[in-house]
């Protein structure tokens, strides 16, 4: 994704977009972790 952005946008814009993308993911992760009960290990993985 970063390579694509660097290829199509000026460096500074690409860096801002990628930083916002990471921030967006971080916020979504935090939201998910507080709004969902954690799942236990599932048997498919073979724990």
């Amino acid at each position: 994704m970063y390579r694509f952005l660097i290829a199509h946008f000026p460096n500074r814009i690409a860096n801002i977009i990628i930083a916002l993308w990471y921030l967006f993911l971080l916020i979504l992760n935090l939201y998910s972790s507080i709004s969902v009960e954690p799942q236990g290990a599932f048997r498919y993985v073979g724990w």
Partner: protein
């Protein structure tokens, strides 16, 4: 998630020490921290792993037995250990497979076979212990290879690119587990599906089938990403485990992109020897996929699941697209998602009767 947090917690000193200590102490620190983690989480697994590590190393490198006898003993003990653990898991409800056993046994089988092939030249017990006691991949894979591990260790140097790539990988991994797996598919998707009226039984069963397969995939791929990310922090490039498998246009391609470390292991050590010895590739495919099924759990359900995967691969080799047209490729993708999801119904339920009931609904046999 608790286990994941504990892995992160133990990874912090692991990463700091691996760059702060003089190189000759780094492997030792990795072994000690990983040993402490597994001893804390699963003492029985710690004992088994320690026994395997020292026993296998002594047997292969120090004993005076004939090479064929050494290899035979090593493989029989390793296979018996994994088979008995999986059998106990199938028979007793309260038995759980020792933490990470499915993965470290296969790593050791790989080591033994590579030793037999004469490819293990480095006889250092420190490398072997570090390979076995490597925290990031210990509990959920990927089943990394010994040569790559040693090569990475030899090339290892501080590289900021590894850190940024590792951080990105961990973020994507946690996102797959938390956002897609736990939130979108489990919390929202499963609730949405359970709210569907019983008069739409087919739609409900179908969506449940797809949801459970995608959930398993995102959770597993997420944990693999996290393992690869932590390894990058330590300076190791661990092999990928998933490469967009649901974009594959046939089942053969799917299995070269799904749980790649296990499928590559089975290709190298099961499929290739059988297919070349008997000159029957179909037999190789069937044996490989059944063993992949039984690796998950020794049960009739997983046996059927493995056989269904084999049938899928064999069928895909008959109907291989002569042209790579857009429509054909996308029809293939739809087929792959549906075939894998439908064949996985058999392993999603504890009782085979429940799975049969779902199949009846899905195929309008009710």
């Amino acid at each position: 998630m608790e286990l994941l947090l504990e892995v992160f917690l133990f990874s912090i000193p692991l990463i700091i020490l691996s760059w702060a200590l003089p190189k000759r102490f780094v492997l030792l620190s990795q072994i000690i921290i990983t040993g402490a983690f597994i001893l804390y989480k699963s003492p029985i697994s710690f004992l088994i792993l320690t026994f395997i590590s020292f026993g296998n190393f002594y047997l292969l490198h120090k004993s005076n037995l004939k090479n064929s006898i050494k290899i035979g003993i090593s493989l029989v003990v390793l296979i018996l250990l994994i088979a008995s653990a999986k059998l106990l898991f199938s028979i007793h409800d309260h038995w759980i497979i020792p933490l990470g056993m499915s993965y470290y046994i296969f790593r050791n089988i790989h080591y033994t076979i590579e030793y037999y092939k004469g490819k293990i030249l480095n006889e250092s017990i420190l490398f072997y212990l570090a390979y076995n006691f490597f925290l990031p991949v210990l509990i959920i894979g990927p089943i990394n290879r010994y040569h790559e591990f040693v090569k990475d260790w030899q090339r290892r140097r501080f590289n900021s690119e590894y850190f940024s790539a590792g951080l990105q990988r961990i973020l994507y991994g946690v996102s797959k587990v938390m956002i897609v797996g736990n939130y979108l598919l489990t919390a929202k998707g499963a609730v949405f599906i359970s709210d569907i009226d019983d008069s739409h039984a087919w739609l409900k069963a179908y969506l449940e089938t797809i949801e459970s397969v995608l959930n398993a995939y995102f959770q597993f791929a997420g944990y693999s990403d996290i393992a690869i990310g932590i390894s990058l922090f330590l300076g190791y490039r661990i092999m990928d485990n998933f490469n967009y498998p649901f974009l594959a246009s046939n089942m053969q391609e799917f299995w070269s992109k799904y749980h790649m470390s296990l499928s590559a292991f089975c290709r190298d050590y099961i499929y290739t020897p059988i297919a070349s010895f008997y000159r029957k590739p179909l037999l190789g495919i069937i044996a490989t996929m059944i063993i992949i099924g039984l690796w998950h759990e020794i049960s009739f359900s997983f046996l059927i699941w493995g056989a269904l995967q084999a049938i899928g691969i064999i069928l895909s080799s008959f109907f291989k697209a002569s042209s790579d047209s857009f429509i054909r490729k996308n029809l293939g993708r739809i087929f792959v998602l549906n075939y894998f999801s439908l064949s996985s119904v058999v392993i999603h339920y504890d009782e085979l009767a429940q799975a049969l009931h779902v199949y009846k609904v899905l195929f309008f046999l009710n």
